[in-house]
Symmetry: C2
Subunit: 254 residues, 2 copies
């Protein structure tokens, strides 16, 4: 039975639709958006609601995502081996570098943040675990594109979306950058996604040298860079953290 189960694919599409639009959606909206009969959409929504994946505003009758997703998302993190092993190293890195640390894995056409350590003694920040970052303009993303053929494939041939003046939007430029990244073993991104923010990332691989994710530090360009380049000491910290996590992952096997 090498075909996907229709009702499940549709349910997934509905949940993604609900996740996309910031506001709640009505039954008819869902049905027309996905080109389903109202009855069909209703059946799926009712089941999703019973299971807690979708909630219905009793007042307006409109639907939104449900709490069970949050719970299961948390369970995903609990089981995630990379994240578990990286926790302590990420902490150390944040303390050593004095900057925010992110841990990301490839997911669809982006980097999914699975761990986030706040910059020590910084002002209040929002936790970004569960959010996505672009592949072509962040240190995390470019590391993955450079080392993971799947990531490179997901990216396509561009041109890519431009966020700042420094964003690389052409596939040829990005591939050249990736060659450089592979050569020196780390990636940076200086104001390529957000003005004023620079980041440095390095690859995490498992025991068989498969790329499984990336770590990066991210902070104000004034602190992370010097004379237009990222500080070598920070690069060293990130790379050694990445190596430590990779070693830890390999060790877990035996």
């Amino acid at each position: 039975m090498p075909g996907p189960i229709q009702s499940l694919s549709r349910a997934a599409a509905i949940m993604r639709l609900l996740a996309g639009g910031e506001r709640r959606l009505g039954l008819s909206e869902v049905a027309t958006a996905l080109d389903l009969a109202k009855g069909t959409a209703h059946g799926i929504l009712r089941t999703l609601q019973q299971e807690g994946f979708v909630e219905q505003d009793p007042e307006s009758g409109k639907y939104q995502l449900g709490a069970e997703l949050l719970r299961l998302g948390q369970s995903y993190l609990d089981v995630h081996e990379l994240r578990a092993r990286a926790l302590v190293w990420a902490d150390d890195l944040a303390r050593a570098a004095g900057e925010t640390v992110y841990l990301g894995v490839l997911h669809q056409q982006g980097v999914l943040i699975v761990h986030h350590v706040f910059r020590p003694d910084d002002t209040r920040q929002v936790l970004e675990v569960g959010s996505m970052q672009p592949l072509h303009s962040t240190a995390l993303g470019k590391v993955l594109v450079a080392y993971d053929p799947v990531a490179r494939g997901e990216l396509g041939d561009g041109p890519y979306e431009s966020y700042t003046l420094r964003t690389l939007t052409e596939a040829s430029d990005l591939d050249a950058e990736c060659a450089l990244i592979r050569e020196r073993g780390w990636a940076d991104s200086i104001e390529e996604t957000w003005e004023g923010v620079a980041s440095i990332g390095a690859l995490i691989q498992d025991r068989r040298r498969n790329p499984v994710g990336a770590v990066c530090i991210s902070g104000a360009v004034e602190r992370v860079c010097e004379d237009g380049f990222v500080k070598p000491s920070l690069v060293a910290s990130v790379r050694s953290a990445a190596r430590a996590i990779s070693r830890d992952l390999g060790a877990g096997r035996f």
Copy 2:
């Protein structure tokens, strides 16, 4: 068509099963645990995998939850109206009280934490957003049980699980406590779930006075209590935060 969609319910059961067991599960394990034919379980797992809700370890062939759940869980938080409006108030409360703040909603037989503000200037803590707390032994839970008939219904007639010597395990005791909670308008829990931890909670209601969630502060019993009772000043802070959030929710409508 007032029946749930079979394949969807089964898919949900599989995901919950994967979320429950801490380790990865094989196809046969899943199939036997849920009493499904192997082919059926495989079809569902394959579809879930395609959609990103489940991942398969390419080495062992075993399954675990997928990254898409984390992303959707995050989207749930983004849309969550109660959480959005409560963010700033929870912050203020944490600062004023100098303690950890939790924001929770009823979900199945527990309280789902949807927001968590760390205790200011405290040692490193783990974020508990997405985790569940028991209904019968926490301030958040008891508030909901006292005011929300649905929560009371979910709880059942006990006896309830005991975590410490002070846990209320009998329905009659808990109902008496709930009457008290309704009378004075707030709940506490002094070492009823974790030794050394006390918490104070109050109800959040929407414009039509329906209970929609609860806030609490939680901290070391030595700081939160005095002479065996919670400090009145902290109670006042929590209650005023709860009122502020409720007012904010009501205001959003017009």
